[in-house]
Each structure stands twice: as structure tokens, then as C-alpha cells.
């Protein structure tokens, strides 16, 4: 099958997340990186292009230039999709321009800085009938997809409690290092990071996994956020109470100051008949608990899994796939959509997931500011 011609905004030399996106696109083997704006510094951008054997003609000085030049190319040469892996504050304007010009978009999260921007993108995607994939990477794990399927099938009965956690410790070394470093870290600066650090960066992943796996919507939140240290303006830690319906509540716990925690994202969904638990650091193990039967461990590459989960893992059972394969699964889903091939709902997070995420972040911040009161999402 012919590769999809992909461009990239950001992700030049030394950019970790751009490298991850390119790896993912190569793993799924549906894309060919043909050009982009890899760095704000055009010289660095060209150097990157050269290293990657990308034609210097298609290494552009700006997104504007890219759009102009690529739009002028014949349809069978033109970029079909553009991946946006820039700092957060730039996602919206680039996505808007690219969608406006008819390009499909893959976008790193957070999708935008405000709910309004998010909704504008959602409208644009609908109008333009384009593919927009948001890389909430964890939805690409086979066992998360199996979890989604088991819940959809009704395996859990009535859901009674939902508990998700995202604990990291990496900001610890920054805030307890020299004082001068605090202001130097962009994530701690509201101007660059937006309204929230912890909830905006990682809490939203927990939120997304909840809505993704259960198919439910969080209706209201009550949050208690913690800057942890004097002089920090944003939340580095917090707890969010969730309400889904009258008798269904839940909680999201997230922190960037849990020293020694690496990337400890977990989700547990408890139902009247059974429960499901999953942890990102052991992504190939899904636990199904019930009161009357032994706990069952679901793993990838087994006939007992749903088709969607099975199609998200290529190795035989017992050969662990990881985070890159999860991201590749999302790229694979986006490729199907771009190509007009049938795909499974949930195969890639959409612009709507982006809108939900922005609503979550802002309602959480509002609740905290209002003195820990309930706020509609």
C-alpha cells in the first residue's frame, strides 16, 4: 500500500516527542515523512531534514510557507497529514491553519489552551470532514482496548465507582533543586503551560482513559489542587472528585511530586458484577475481578480477547509490546481514517476527546479557584 505523505511541525533535533511520533509512524509503516517545519530556527530545521534524508525543498520556514507550497503541489505529491508536536501554546493556531487548508492533522495533547479554541477546532474538523487524531497515547494499548470492549459488553454490570491515578515524581528534583531553576521550567510558568501543570499535563490522561474505557461522561468535578511549595503558581498535585450520575462517583488523583514514581498511571472501574484494573507500567496485564470467581489476568495475543484488542498487538503472547506500539496503533487508526478505510471507533482519539480534555482541565481549575466547589464539565 502506498505510504501516506506526512509533514511534521516541530520535532527537530533533540525533540523527544517528535522522535516518538516518527518512530510510531514508522512502526505502523503507513507513513512517509516528506517535509515539515522542524524547528523555529530554520538552519536547525534544515540540518534535521538533511539528517533524515528529507528533501530540503520541503523543509519550510513556517507553517504558512508549508501550507502555501504544499497546497500548490498536485494531489498525489501533496502532504496528506501533518503532525503537530510543537510546544502546547502553538497547537491551536497551527491545527486551525492546517485544517483550514485541507490537511489532515495528528496533534499532540493538550490540543489547545482554551475550551473555546478546542470547540472551534471541533467545528472545523466537522465542516472539513478531515481526520484529526489527538495522541492520547495510552488509548493505543491493547489491554486498554480490551477493557473498553469488556465494559461495552456489559461484563461489569452497573458501574459503581471509578478511580484513576497518575503519579509522577520528576518535578521534585526541580522544585527542590536550586531556587533559580523554578522559574526556568516552562511547565511551571502559567504563560507557557496554561492554566494547569499537573492536571493539564497528566490528570487529563487519567480523565481521557476513564471516558475512553467506560464510554461515560464526567458531568461535574470538585478539585483540590496543590502547588506544593511557596512560589509555585500552578498545581503540581491534586485530587478531583468526579460525578457521572446520581449514584456513580469517582476520583482522579494526579501528582508530579510523588518522588520515585515514574509514570504510574492506573485505572480501576468497579461494577455491580465485576471490576477491571490496569496499570500503565505493566500494560500487558488486565485484571478482571469478581466476587465469586478467581481474578482473571487478560493478556494480549489470545483468542479470548476482542478483535480490536487483538488487532492492536502483533507479537505472539508473552512478547511484550510497549508505549511505541501503543502510539503506532493510534497512527495506524488515523491512517485508516485518512485512507477512508473502515476503522473501529476508538482506534484513535478525536478532536472531541480534545474538547472534553480542555473542559476537564478548565473545570478542575475553576473548581479549585472557587474554593473546592462542584463545577460542571
Amino acid at each position: 500500500m502506498k505510504k501516506i505523505r506526512m509533514g511534521m511541525i516541530g520535532g527537530g533535533i533533540g525533540a523527544f516527542i517528535g522522535d516518538a511520533h516518527r518512530r510510531a509512524s514508522r512502526i505502523c509503516n503507513d507513513y512517509e515523512l516528506v517535509g515539515g517545519v522542524f524547528d523555529v530556527d530554520y538552519e536547525k530545521s534544515k540540518l534535521f531534514a538533511q539528517n533524515e534524508s528529507i528533501s530540503s525543498d520541503r523543509c519550510y520556514v513556517s507553517v504558512e510557507a508549508l501550507i502555501k507550497a504544499e497546497s500548490a503541489l498536485p494531489a498525489d505529491k501533496r502532504m496528506e497529514v501533518v503532525s503537530i508536536v510543537t510546544p502546547n501554546a502553538l497547537h491551536f493556531s497551527f491545527a486551525k491553519s492546517l485544517l483550514g487548508a485541507g490537511f489532515n492533522v495528528v496533534c499532540e495533547k493538550p490540543m489547545t489552551m482554551t475550551v473555546k479554541e478546542a470547540e472551534e477546532l471541533e467545528k472545523l474538523v466537522a465542516e472539513k470532514k478531515l481526520t484529526f487524531a489527538l495522541t492520547h497515547t495510552y488509548t493505543g494499548y491493547p489491554m486498554i482496548r480490551q477493557m473498553k470492549d469488556l465494559i461495552a459488553k456489559g461484563t461489569l454490570g452497573t458501574i459503581q465507582r471509578i478511580d484513576a491515578q497518575y503519579y509522577q515524581g520528576w518535578i521534585n528534583s526541580i522544585i527542590h533543586g536550586t531556587g533559580t531553576r523554578i522559574t526556568g521550567v516552562w511547565r511551571l510558568d502559567p504563560k507557557h503551560a496554561g492554566a494547569s501543570s499537573c492536571m493539564g499535563d497528566i490528570g487529563v490522561h487519567a480523565f481521557n482513559l476513564i471516558e475512553y474505557t467506560t464510554g461515560l461522561e464526567v458531568k461535574e468535578v470538585l478539585s483540590d489542587l496543590n502547588p506544593v511549595k511557596e512560589g509555585i503558581e500552578l498545581d503540581l498535585d491534586g485530587t478531583v472528585l468526579l460525578r457521572f450520575s446520581k449514584n456513580l462517583k469517582g476520583v482522579i488523583r494526579a501528582s508530579q511530586v510523588c518522588g520515585g514514581e515514574e509514570n504510574n498511571l492506573t485505572i480501576a472501574v468497579y461494577g455491580s458484577k465485576a471490576s477491571l484494573k490496569w496499570a500503565q507500567e505493566d500494560p500487558n496485564f488486565l485484571y478482571l475481578l469478581s466476587d465469586n470467581e478467581p481474578t482473571k489476568i487478560f493478556k494480549p495475543a489470545h483468542g479470548y480477547n476482542d478483535q480490536f484488542a487483538e488487532a492492536s498487538h502483533t507479537m505472539p503472547s508473552g512478547h511484550p509490546e510497549g508505549i511505541y506500539e501503543a502510539l503506532a496503533n493510534i497512527y495506524k487508526g488515523a491512517a485508516k481514517s485518512i485512507r477512508g478505510i473502515e476503522f473501529t471507533p476508538g482506534e484513535f482519539p478525536t478532536v472531541h476527546d480534545g474538547v472534553r480534555g480542555m473542559k476537564f482541565i478548565h473545570s478542575v481549575v475553576d473548581s479549585n479557584k472557587a474554593g473546592n466547589t462542584w463545577v460542571k464539565v
Copy 2:
């Protein structure tokens, strides 16, 4: 060493918790059960005494009768301590009478039904200079004691977040069985269970472990409780936000409707330098996390542990001890106190822990009633 003469209120034939207390007292080998009021039905009580080879003379018809008769015995025959393992609503009046008459007391939790009662007992214990041990059993685990010690030593630096969980699923089968069973279960009936089901029964254990291991006091709580099902009056599930000081927050999550969860009590304390995690179902593993070193697994019976932890485990390393040994450790600590032997603070939970627990339960219930607002503990 001569055994301490112990009486027991409740715990007759078929009573699970009384059996556990007796086992614990036999494991530590400091006690001899000499009499009691084992059942409200005197005939059943006598049958139990006979089965246990307890003299029928000391099988009493009531606590009043026990106090009267035992008080009349010479000091070297008289009961020295009485264990109260009756339904919750009776703890207070029995404890008050026994303490008033000069008996040391071991009491199951919850200590009382109200804060006022709890404070009254605390005053009484102080006045009478008696030993009062509350069986918050989990504080008897060696690795919980090691955790307490590591925190006291400053291993964690400044504590930044505290997260405790107590998830069970056993009420699920009751509320989703026949409708008639709901009212039949005393735990779901406010008249018998008190102000709270989930928080009163298990949330308070999580609370106790937090204060026990960290030496900190929870200052304020904001709770969101969930009866889960129409027609249930008490909480079967809930989340409690905790505040310790300006920048130290935490959370307790507890539920009795997490289907398939057995007795999933966990505690995690995160500090600026390191963190500690423990789970009750694998009680002999304590995890010390830090950003710059490999995670360390502490286990009992090793020279690297503190003396207190080491003295709380008798087998060589790798021979798992369990919940009965934890309870026996508490009985062992109470025995030292009764005998006037020096003991380590924390060797058994005291009446003050009981006061704290009642304050926690009632502030949590109040916060929920008041629409999820902050309430002082």
C-alpha cells in the same frame, strides 16, 4: 512469666472477631482467658465457656455481674483486662463501666458511636491510669512499624502527599441480592451501624494508618459519600480530601462495593526525598521509592530494619506472618503496658486513636451532609 488474666465481652460461639482476639492472645502467649460474658443468651454463653474449658463460675450473665464478682476476688485472681468484642453500639457503655471499675480494656473498633463518648473514655483512661488498647489491627504489621520508623527518621524529607485506600467488595452481593436483604443487614442500618457504613468501618482504618505512620494530624476533611443504590441510607463508598497543612494534602478512598476487591488497604506517603508504599494483602513488602536510586523492597527479619519492626516478627525472613500475628503484636504491646513493662509508643493503638477515629468519621459525615465542604476534624 505469669499469664495476664483476661475476660471477654462478646465473642461467643460463631463470633468471628472474638475468635480472632483469642487466637491473638494465645499467639503472643501473655494471656489466659478466665471468664466473660460471651453471649447475650446466657445458655449459649455457658456452652461456649464449657467448650473452652472456662470455669462456669466466671461465665457471667452480664457485664455488671462480671464487674461485681471479679471486683470481689482477691487481686491475684481477679481479671486484669477485659476484651470487648461486642456489636459496636455496646462498646462505649461496657468500656466505661469496666474502666470505671478499674479493669484494663482491649476494645474492638469503632471505639464508640460519638465523639463525646470517645472523649469521655479518653478522660477516664487518663484518670484511672489504666491500659486501653484499641485493635486497629493493621498497626501491628512489622512493615507498617518499619514505615513509621523510616518516616520518623526523616527518610522521606518533607511529606508532600498522602494517599490511602481501603477497597472491599463484600457489600455488593448484599445490595444486589434480594431487596429484602438490604434492611436485614445491620451495617446498612443507621440505628445499629452509626453515622456511617463505609467510612466508619474501613475508611477509619485508612485514616488511622495515615496518622500512625506519619505522626501527622489530619486537620480538615472534605468528603463525597455515596450510598450507591436507591433505598440505602448510609455511605457504602466515598472519597475524602485531607488537609494536613497549607501545602500538604491527601486523600482517602474507601468503598465496600468494589466488586472482587477483598481487603485492599494501601497507604502511600510521598516526600521530597523519598516515598513509601505498602499494601495490606502483601503485608511483608514495603517499598521505598526515590528519584535517584532503585526502588528498595524492605521485608521483615532483616538487620536493616528498625528494632521495633524486627521485634514484631518472629520467623526468619521469607516465612510470611500475617494478620493474626499483627493482632498478636497489639496484644503483646498491651500486655507490656498492663504489666508495667517499658514499651514502644505505637505498640498498641490507644484511646486517643479512638478519639481521633471518631472525629474523623463524624467530620466526614458532616462534610458530606453540608454539601461537600471543608470540616475541621
Copy 3:
């Protein structure tokens, strides 16, 4: 129920294993320790008796004296069972004398020093129709009993491979300490430890668990033993190939020099339809694997377990019981036998298990001496 009058040989002040036996007997609550020969030093023995509130009359100077005096007592005062917890070399003669005089016996392992002795005891037990319980403690774990039951039921299909491991590291610190300590440790001295250190002390436990859980007999062994260091005469480490039948083979691996291993005893039984795995350091988890279904985790206190396993655990699910409760289960089984109450086969290891163990140890040693050849068990 009246307590069984128990005596004890060995197990005085400072003796770890005697303490464990007494705890176990108190946990199951079927026994009363009425006397014994607690120490070769009579003064120490009396001191121990005094500490334990045992009548000095029944603190004897020798096993001979005990037998004479107790035999002279009326049947309703006489000791009914005697626990032997002396050094290994004394087990046989004491057991023989006690059985000969009509006392039931609980005996620590290894039962004897030679196969001949073991067979002599077996004959004696049969003749005298007495209870003889050998404390292969690990058979007392609920999940080992559940494993036995699942296998007996045919859950695994045809057994195809058996693999047991017993790894410890404690001898490391001895052999790598000062050279003089080597000869000082009795376990390394053939005169006191018998023909084998590692296989005799721990390998035999792995062997016992295999025969216990599967109901199969090991027919032949081929061993490769390792003294690990110059100057050591006995095996501290080794591997034993096992043959059960033409196409059923297995392996036992045991070592006392696996630094950092505590008491890492595991057993895995693989069948044509399913497999079972268990590890002593997490004794309340039993894993059932099969090719076509998710792995299942069996835990105690669930309706899905067999009656025998269920009766071996008293706490509700999720309240971990440990090694003392396992030993107490064996004492409980022996009590039933002594009282003539019906019991489940396997409720306590018998003299026949002792014979099998001695045959295993000696055939393993013989195989190694003969240059790693097959030897009949």
C-alpha cells in the same frame, strides 16, 4: 472440647522451632502443653517450664524419665502426644521410644537420619495404630491444599512437567565469613547434619510438596550437588532431575547460597489441559494457567475453593494468614487423628511422608556420589 495433653522434647529457651510448634498448637487451640524435656540441661529445662507455668513435676530430666512417669499416670492425666523438636540426629531414637510406649508423636523433619530408621518408624506406627505427624509445614497452606485438590480433580489433564525450587541465601554469610566459622556450623558437618545439607534440609521440602500436591511418586533421580567452596564437605546447592514415568519428568532445584533469597520455595505443575504455580513467599495466591483462558488467581476464603482448602483458613478473604497458621493446620489435623475424629487425607504429613523424604535424600546423595547417574528412590 478438652485440650489434648501435649509434651515436648527440646524447644527450650531460645529454641526457635520449639516456639513455632507451641504457637501453632495454641493457634489451633487443641492442645495444652503439660510437660516435657525442654533442654539437655535440666536446670535450663526447669527454668523454661517455670516461665511457661508448667508444673515442675512434669519437667523431666530425660525422655526415658518422661516415658516412665507419664506412663504411670492415669489415662486422663497422661500426655497424649509428644512433639519432638530436638536436633535432627535425635529424632529417631526419641520417636521410637515414645511410639513404643504408646504416645502419639509430632516430629520435626527430617524424621530420621537413614531410610532404615524411617522404615522402622513406619512399621511401628502401623503396629501401634498411633498418630504420627511430620511437620512438613508448607502442606498446611490453604492454597497448597487447593492445588492438591485441583490436581486430584483432574483440572490439569495429564501432568507433563513438574518443577520445584527452594532457594535460600543464608549460608552465604557463613561460608564467606571467617574460615573458622565453617566447621563451627553444625549444618555443614556431616556428623550432625547427616548425608546432606541443602537437599536434606530444604530440597526435601520441595520433594514433599511435589508428591503431596500431585499424588505422584518420584521413581528415579539424577543429581548434581555442589559444595560451592573448598573445604565444605556437604552439598550447599544442587539440581535433581526427576522421573515419574516414561514421559513425565521434572526437576528440583535447591540452594542455600543464593544470596538475597529468603525462603523462595516454589512449585509448578504443568499439565496437558492447565497448569498450577505457587510460591511460598506469597502463599495466598495460587495461579491456574491455561492456553485458552486468562490466568486465574485463586485465593483463600472463597466459595470457589475446595472444602479442605477453605477449612484451612479462618479469616475472611484478603486477610493474609501465614506460616504459623500453616503449621497450626497440621497440628489441627493431628488433633483430629488423635481424637479419632474424621480427617481429610493430607491434613497432616505422615510417617510415610518421612520415609519418602529419607529415600529422596539418600538417593540424591547416592546419585551424586556415583557420578550423576540415575538412582531409584
Copy 4:
């Protein structure tokens, strides 16, 4: 950097292992697949080439044709390396031809069918000064590399015992299916699989990991192999005793009939000072045990790891990488060698590892045939 021009022999449509190699080559991003002989059926081969957008000119009818045509190309167009992912029996002749013609080779394991062939390749590689990478994939895991480094540094002291396991269950469903399927499976047929099924396919991986991580050579083996079922000619299960030196022994256990086991490869190396344990299904966790300190868990992406391990993982800590990344690490190492860039010894398994593997397999088979006697490797 310019991509290395890669060819492939085998690995066409539906070939799992060829797909894995191509993914790995794309992940590390050092290679470009330019042509090959993808299938014995030339039409299918061309179809595959078309799907992969490979020029039909370079889709060859045979290895001979490939060598001839590619050799005729100018140096800057010519294939630089060829990956051999054909059935086992073809590895040797293709590798020999390609090396003879001056092509670097990546080869799936087993490298050859006989020791003689393996040695011939080793000689050829040395003469030709070419890169030959054998894809013992598990050596590409970061924590295996960390293990190698910790051992090389002397962290373990004197090694005292080595224990590796490779348990799978997948052949179970074949041998217990219909009788006719047995002969149909090529792995069970000596003509196609060679002298061994279980040891040749998976036991050799365990062997390789032992020699890779410890830097030691197995000197002698004594094996007991098991065809498990009547009518099977090859081993599906077995145990191999290992001797490294007078007092250093070990064991490899491997099976293809451990029902429910997926890909359970483990290695444990026990030393006088400390020990290391690793399991393939949780590849990002490495356990360092010692008698006097808490067990330590090493994970990737931490400053405490060696440079080699760190360079083998690209994501931040807590983002699990898996088997594809392990294989990509080997491709990455081979690329450095092909490009003449400095690389770390062990960055890819060499032809010498292939020779060792063949010697292991054949000595194991010989030992079993000779009645389980010691055979030199």
C-alpha cells in the same frame, strides 16, 4: 545520516518474523529496505515488494540472482546488508553465499544446523571482516544489558549458581489436537527442525543469555530431554545441568508443553555478594538481591544505570518499551558496525554466539542420547 541499504531473504506476505525484523529496522531508523528474495514463490515475492513500494527490479528470483545483480551495482547503490529470515535449514547456505560475496548479514537464529557449518561461517566472517549479527533478540533489552554491566563490574562477587528457564506452552495445543497434526508441524519433524525442538528453539536463548550476561562459558552439559508424547521424535521439554568450573554449576530448564506459559524466559545469577534476577515478560524490571540490604529494582531511564543500558532505551522512565525495541537495539548495533562507528561489545550477538549456540544444542542432544552423561560443549 544516510540509511543503510538492506535486503531481505524470506519474510514475505504473512511471515511474522520478517515483519518483526523490518519493524525493528524502521524503529532504529538506520536502514532502508531496498530489495530481496521475499518468498520462494516469485509471484508472491513481487506482490510483497509492490505492497512495500520496493522496486520490482530488486525483487529477485533467488539469492544467487540477488548476489549477482547487486554485486554489479555501483558501491553507493548496492545493498550493504542482507537479513536472512528464512526457515532454519536455509540460514547457512544463504549466509555463506552472501558473506562470500561481501555482504554484511543479519541472520535469525538458529544460525545453522550443525556446529561445523557454524564454525565455517565464523571463519568466513573473520576472513571477510564483515558484520554478522545474529538476532538473539533478548540481548537487546536494556535491563539485560544493565545485568551484563553489573556482573562485569563485580557487583555479584564470585558467581555461585546460575539458573535460566524458558517455558512456553504453545505446542500443547498441537500435540493434544488431532493426531494428524503432529506430523504436519515442521518443528516436530527432525528433517526440518534439526536435532532438537525445545532446546534448539528456546533452550538456546536461555543458554545465550547466560553467556551474554555473565561473560562465562558453559564447559559441560548433562541433559534429560522429553518428547512428552508417544510418536514425537524430538524433545519438547527438558532440563540441562551446566558446569562452568569446579564449583560453579547451573541449570537450564526449557519446555514447549508448559500449558498456559506464554514466553516465560527468566535468568537468575547468584553470587557471593549479591544476585540478579530478570524475567522477559516484565523486561523493564531487574532485581538485585543481597543478604544485608533491601532488594533493589533497577528500571530503564535512570542515572544509576550503566551507559550501555541507558542508550538502549529512549523513553523517559516508566514508559515501557518492549520486544520490538530490543530487536531494534540489535539492528542499531549492527548498523554501527556496518558503518564502522564504534560500538559497545554486546551491542549485537555475533557469529561467535551462533557457534556457541550450535555447540550447546548438539552437546545437549548428545548427552541425552548417551543416557544423560556429561558432554563437553
